[in-house]
Amino acid sequence: MADIKFNEANQKKFEQLLKRYPQKRAAMLPTLWLAQEQYGWLSPEVMTYVGGLLEVPPSKVYEVATFYTMFHLQPVGKYHFQVCRTLSCQLRGAEGITAQLKKRFGIGIGQTSEDGRFTLTEVECLGSCGTAPMLQLNDDYHEDLTEAKLDQLIESLE
């Protein structure tokens, strides 16, 4: 693996971040977030790098990274489908959405398609219950889903 290091832009952001906190380790969450943005996931090497920056042992970075489900400890596909599985979405058909994605990509929950393009996970309420069922694709919400709408969405992807 190439040298793990923030690119220039992220390095600047990181330095700004540090100024916001009384202690370096307090910047853990946003720093991990930056690292995940740059590398797509948090490999052991990346967590070790972050530990070095914040002057904490790698094990303490690992604790935080595994505590929050939004940090990826495995590589995720180019398209990451995060289907909400909490009550409102469940009542409005989230299970069907998940099943459709499973079938379409031939993967289970928490898995990535063989070509490395699609990842499927289930997440808890994304605060969009009024437009259930919904999912988050990478950083964007897709709401009021139906089978047809989901098909359309998938077709639109490169």
């Binding site: 052991p44 967590m47 042992p57 790698p58 094990s59 303490k60 690992y62 604790e63 595994t66 505590f67």
Partner: protein, 501 residues
């Protein structure tokens, strides 16, 4: 200096003392899992909840500072109810596999359940399953299901060894004790985590599934692994030592020991010399006691005092070295040297592990022994365990030397000896070592010597008898004569020697 009342007892404590420690000072014990006197306060187990009058909610005593006028209750119905609930909560996902758990019999969870709950669980759902055999490191195995997430082991690695190998991953009922991916719990003190784990989650690989702890008997003893002389309990049964456990001594090892020392116990059980041996026509053979003693007498009686050298040992006790010195006085042998294991500077730190791998160098030096330097014209060597091949070849460069060894173990040295007498280890006799602080520390006998094994001082008595010299010894008298101390003076903490000048 706040004054407070705990269970009706009024006590005064130093500023900043917690309610938990105040109770301890008043001899009131409060059940606890995560609190440990040598570690930072985590306050995560809630087992130490107490009721403090005028406080709106029950408080965890381990993290509540004692204040003037506080009225604390630790044994009321209300507190009992709290303790019950906390235990029920902790037990939700606990596998309760006590019948196959090594900790059973010395498990805090088991004990507190018996003391505070004794009711059936109301949890009828399925328990979370977790891996039962996680290889954490060279000496430690984890049963994840049994972990109650007290974080003692994590804090030990953060605060005592500063190695920070351990952490919790995930959260809620998925929380798991683990290491960073690809890393191991691999430090020189890792087995202390097994000691402080209140349950059977962390187990010692060498002790795992070896013995039910309620069969073990123990005596206070001292580790022989290095000059620190960590205080231990020697746990024994069936004529065998099964493990060492750390014993508290604030001035020596606090409540810790290193892994290497702790795992050195097989020395009492393995590769032992159990019968006398005599070299006949070049071959070392088993012999009777009287043949062996006769052989030794023959070798010694034909000599002038300066043709023999007595080699004590930094591996042997104060008493056995003193016995050898007395033997020299009786038989007019003046050359007293001592053997010692070589220093290992690579295996030393600023905590407990010393480069000097001998438990009793200070003791032999106190008795006036010189470190081994050989000699010219030596015809006979009488040595305690610890005398090495290199020492012998150094002496034999000058000519043939009869070699008499009071050996605990079979090894290259016994191969070279002319007469070998089977000597007891420090687990088989009462005695003492003097550590690097000049602290004389007592050990007691756990095992009865097997076969023809005897403590070295008893063999020396017999050799003297064979030589028709009067020599009457006892461990107590040897300690008294050599060090001006009685076993009773040593207590549980040992006694520092007054400097000689």
């Amino acid at each position: 200096m706040p004054k407070l009342t705990i269970d009706g007892k009024e006590i005064e404590v130093a500023d900043g003392t917690t309610v938990f420690e105040a109770a301890r000072q008043a001899d009131i014990s409060i059940p606890h899992f995560c609190y440990h006197p040598k570690l930072s306060i985590a306050g995560n187990c809630r087992m130490c909840l107490v009721d403090i009058e005028k406080m709106p909610k029950p408080a965890i005593s381990c993290n509540t500072v004692a204040n003037e006028g506080m009225v604390v209750n630790t044994k009321t119905e209300k507190v009992k109810e709290l303790q019950k609930s906390v235990l029920e909560f902790i037990l939700i996902n606990h596998p309760i596999d006590c019948p196959v758990c090594d900790q059973a019999g010395e498990c805090k969870l088991q004990e507190f359940y018996m003391d505070y709950t004794m009711t059936d669980s109301e949890f009828h759902e399925e328990k979370v399953k977790k891996p039962k055999k996680v290889d954490l490191g060279p000496n430690v195995m984890l049963d994840d299901e049994r972990c109650i997430l007290c974080s003692r082991c994590i804090r030990f690695c953060d605060e005592i060894t500063h190695t920070s190998e351990l952490c919790f991953s995930e959260r809620g009922d998925r929380s798991t004790l683990t290491t960073f991916p690809g890393k191991q719990l691999d430090n020189k003190y890792s087995l202390n985590t097994v000691d402080i784990c209140p349950v059977g989650a962390l187990t010692s690989k060498p002790f795992r599934f070896q013995k039910r702890v309620w069969f073990l008997k123990h005596v206070p003893s001292v580790c022989s692994g290095c000059a620190t002389g960590c205080n231990i309990y020697m746990d024994y049964d069936d004529g065998k030592v099964w493990r060492y456990r750390t014993r508290d001594n604030e001035s020596v090892n606090q409540c810790w020991t290193c892994d290497a020392g702790r795992l050195s116990y097989p020395l009492h059980n393995e590769k032992r010399v159990t019968r006398p041996m005599v070299r006949k026509n070049g071959v070392l053979e088993y012999s009777t006691i009287s043949d062996a003693l006769g052989e030794i007498a023959r070798a010694l009686s034909s000599l002038g005092g300066d043709e023999a050298v007595l080699v004590g040992s930094a591996q042997e006790s104060n008493e056995n070295n003193m016995a050898l010195k007395k033997f020299g006085q009786t038989c007019q042998i003046k050359d007293l040297q001592y053997s010692a294991k070589p220093k290992d500077d690579a295996d030393a730190d600023n905590f407990l592990i010393k480069a000097d791998k001998n438990p009793n160098r200070a003791g032999v030096q106190h008795l006036g022994y010189q470190e081994f330097h050989g000699g010219i014209g030596v015809k006979v060597v009488l040595a305690l365990e610890g005398f090495s091949e290199t020492h012998l070849s150094q002496l034999r460069e000058e000519g043939p030397v009869a070699f008499i060894l009071l050996a605990t173990h079979l090894g290259p040295e016994t191969e070279l000896a002319d007469v070998v007498l089977p000597a007891a280890t420090f687990g088989e006799q009462e005695g003492s070592f003097t550590n690097f602080q000049n602290r004389v520390q007592k050990f007691e006998a756990a095992l009865i010597p097997q076969g023809m094994v005897l403590p070295a001082w008893k063999w020396l008595e017999k050799i003297a008898q064979e030589l028709k010299q009067p020599l009457q010894l006892s461990a107590e008298a040897l300690l008294q004569e050599g060090f001006g101390l009685k076993f009773a003076d040593l207590g549980t903490e040992g006694k520092i020697l007054e400097s000689k000048n």
